[in-house]
Subunit: 351 residues, 4 copies
């Protein structure tokens, strides 16, 4: 058993960034505020401080709010654009449509309209087609576009690509949301800050990841336009997302934002993914599928190897029948984890 494991957990692998625990800097903050009493439901000083920290991050006043998990962040964020006859437009690869059960239908009460993607990215022509359909009262009426940055396939929209999509959405009167569960990886990858990438691109709201970026739990919803999130506290409450002991979410965010830890964590995860890419791309029978621009490597391996390989070092298959797999790096993945993983992989490939 390698260092860092115990009966409760297992050695670090390449399953997901939500298999990791919390970054020490984050956990310390959480522990440090466990004394005395504080106002509940977010009316405490740490929450005020954490909300301000987001304004500092974007270089102007923004409206940051905290919820429990990623599904909640995306869905409560999108409430700003909700209409009962509305639709949210998203990539066919989006977490929103593939991994959030019927939360959009139940909580937002809206339809999802999926747009074909290439390497995880929305195809502009396909987006235009969906936006241009128009069917009066008979169809579901697009009210918002959500863009995942980095994408679910580990690619990163360039600034130009992002702005093209935002413009198209705006031209049709839609609001624009970014799912930034791993936004630190995108910032690290592009070398462009959130202000330029998100705020100045015209995005209305972003889900800023906590859990995958190094926290135990907690996500931020940040509204970038004045007034847009005024009703958020109500959405949060009826959405069952109002933490009574909110200070413990806020404290973690303060830890995550301090010294840009979230970007540093993204940079580390990206770097490990590059090392992993280097280590596997020369291997026989291993085909890397997409550009590795963030913290995951998608590959095709012989289909019959997927299951036995998983048993020895768990990861998620993307399409088991076709041997497509996803290997994802976390902020805490180490070079020795790659060595261990690749040696197992090579053993299977040789067998």
């Amino acid at each position: 058993m390698t260092a860092g494991s115990s009966p409760d957990t297992f050695p670090r692998g390449f399953a997901s960034d939500n298999f990791a625990g919390a970054h020490p800097q984050v956990l310390e903050r959480l522990v440090a505020c466990n004394h005395g009493h504080a106002m509940a439901y977010g009316d405490d000083p740490l929450t005020a401080q954490a909300r301000k920290a987001f304004s500092a991050l974007f270089g102007q006043d923004v409206d940051a709010r905290f919820v429990f998990n990623g599904t909640a962040a995306n869905n409560t964020a999108l409430m700003a654009f909700a209409k009962p006859y509305g639709a949210v437009v998203c990539s066919d690869m989006a977490h929103l449509i593939n991994d959030e059960s019927t939360a959009p239908e139940r909580f937002l009460g809206m339809r999802l309209l999926d747009v074909p993607s290439r390497e995880g990215k929305l195809i502009p022509e396909a987006l235009e087609e969906v936006l241009g359909r128009g069917h009066g009262v008979h169809g579901a009426h697009p009210v918002a576009l959500t863009i995942t940055q980095p994408t679910e396939l580990g690619t990163v929209y360039s600034l130009a690509e992002l702005r093209t999509l935002v413009s198209m959405a705006k031209a049709h009167g839609l609001g624009v949301h970014v799912d930034g569960a791993r936004i630190g990886c995108a910032v690290a990858s592009l070398g462009i800050g959130l202000r330029e990438m998100i705020l100045e691109s015209g995005v209305d709201a972003i889900s800023f990841g906590g859990t995958k970026q190094g926290m135990i739990f907690g996500e931020a919803v940040v509204y970038l336009k004045p007034g847009l999130g005024d009703d958020f506290p109500y959405w949060q409450k009826h959405g069952m997302q109002l933490a009574s002991k909110m200070r413990f979410v806020s404290a973690q965010f303060l830890g995550l934002l301090e010294n840009d830890l979230w970007i540093e964590n993204g940079r580390r995860a990206n770097a490990v993914a590059q090392r992993l890419l280097e280590a596997v791309r020369g291997l026989p029978k291993v085909e890397v599928l997409y550009p590795v621009q963030a913290n995951s490597v998608f590959a095709r391996i012989p289909a019959h190897l997927v299951e036995p390989l998983q048993k020895e070092t768990f990861f998620w298959p993307w399409d088991e029948r076709q041997g497509l797999v996803r290997w994802m790096c976390a902020f805490d993945t180490q070079p020795e984890d790659i060595t261990r993983f690749v040696s197992i992989l090579e053993r299977f490939l040789r067998a």
Copy 2:
């Protein structure tokens, strides 16, 4: 500033048990599992262990699941009885109807039918009247009864009272849920264990409090009848209540259940409430309103004192215009907190 305070928090008072932090035994467990990787979404060893611990608690196999907060616990628990044309029957004092916004309408899609209460307890005759209405397809159809134990007014149903309500509900074909956000206070108060009080009384499901009983966040939903919670993982997911790093909730519950800490915490909070009762009931112009059977004291004080008193030591008014106030004790409230609070109160009463 008294011990235990810092700029982030303030001295312990009598506002709510959700103003407290976590019990050290709970926090230690959370911190202790922050290493290595673990399966996400509850497929980890700690979660399995915590779920088993609930079966041990009830003395037989039960189905325990973990969500983020109390509103979510109540509403996901009640999904087991949901019908689109259904209604949940509750006391007019219930947290479900007074403090959970429209979560029942939005998530469960059902109506709440409130029943008049006396000292926080459902009045059996009034319950019978609501259950017997019957209006075919035209009315909302009662499908479940929810009972809060201890009640929101700090009283505790006796075993006989509880069983009367359960029988009435069962006679009309309803499921029965208990909101046990502070159930440890009821167990400590009655000296009756969960098996006898809840399971053997015929209750179908219970929200077992985490946050108010000493955790940072996290609540348990426990189904006591086989099969009742089989679809729970789906409700949890589309209800935006599936924590990816679930081990950190489970670890806390393991800490809370160890050596019956949750009962011990309830006992402590109840004891402090009794001390507070002793300290205030002799005071002039202070009228205690209900029997103090759990961890809160409700009182009437001169209405004009409510606001200035709150400013010096925060608590929640129950009806500000009438001078009704709630003073609630947490597991960490100490005798010196009472001394401090009562001296402030006396000062105001004298003024």
Copy 3:
């Protein structure tokens, strides 16, 4: 068997105004437009004409829309005020809360907050109490008040009473809706037109009854403030209330509005109710319960007579155990129907 009955129907009684068929003037219009083709979904000339007829009725441009039934009229009308965390305030006697199943919770996604009533009318003090509760994000947030005119108990709000309620709602920022399923009875009773009673009182929207006022099916939702109903066509469509062959609803409304037939029908029904009142109020063991101001008589009769009496001449009990009954008159009820009914009733009372 009396005239007007056949195996398909039975002699006119006092069950409800929805036991009647259509007024001949209405049916003629429906039949008359059954030729040729017309644009579907309301884009036809008859619908345009009927919508204009409502503007004529109110003496200024209003936005009239047509749906299938009364439940739909009330619920789609209220969409103008809907918020996901909102509540609609209504009398505890309202059709909305007693007779529309969970349509408000499911379609509007909101809670109903019921206010105690006296003789079917909202009690202003009780309304003020509900409006003044205020519980921030924790409670359901009142967004609209709905008033039933005439009430479900056959009483009619005076102009002053109505305006008091509207003012109270407006002072708290609520929208105001009137359920006017039998509004013709109120207009006939008060001798005040819709413009003065409804529009000039500040009401925002009204459900204007079709079915109970003499149509086969169809109700109007009329928005009295510019812009309020702009999204109605979308609500109507996703609410499953868009008739494709709309001209057949519109034609009926043209028949109903012609020469104020709807008021004439209300006047007739009211007059019959007065005759019925005269005929029964002297009877031994019959106690009339409320002022008879519209088309129904509520009475208490010996409880054991309710069921046998119903079998001979059907009507709805209001509270069977207490012998409370409702006798309702329709536009087509005739003097001889009263003679017949009262002779049966007298026979039972004597027995």
Copy 4:
């Protein structure tokens, strides 16, 4: 102006079968029951008779219920399979997904999963792919398949094709619904009765069209398996689809079913479509797109002609930019309507 037109309507064209009025045999029945009183909400003799007539139609006891329109028929029918985390699988051409706004998301609370189609028909391999996805609690869980017969593109599934789809759905545990808004056209086209085509194929529920088959309004939902529709009256009520004067829907259905008028109407509409096909397929610059198996002809014409042609004789474009158009025949379309239409079309083509 041709016969059958008036200022209220216009000459019969090829826009849609919902541009027609009611068949005389249907209207007569409606008019005939307009006398006396009858129990409301479907407890009347005509409704009992109409429900029995559907059992006769299927050759065994079935559970037929009546709602107002097609959107309601599809969505209330599917309630039998609803789960809050569920999905309904349908063709990407289905009325349910293209023409019913967000009714499925709002009323059923479920997601629609669309399957690619060929000539309007679900492609079995594509259906298998959607059914086989499986993503545990993370995805939306397919609970029902809906099949449109005839399809929205005027093609008709053969018995074998239909049974293949039903088998695939059943193998995955899904319920099966048929949208039969124009089912008479399919019966006429295949020469196979409903019992063999629908009931013996294993279908669970069918929306049996009223409006498009010759009624003024009203659709039937027929459950073919015992118990499946037991809760329907509740769904109908909270779905705002319970007509109080139900006899007027039932009477129309009795007229529609008498002497198989619905099949005769389908046969007529199909025959006119064949005549239209004959008349246009030889024309220069007109390309017929799909097999004409029911009552509509889809064609490609020069794109710039669509709008001026529409102005002279209205019809719906299918894709205006590409010059794709739909010409649909109703039960009352006559040979002279074709002559007139084709002469206009030829004039435009020549110009």
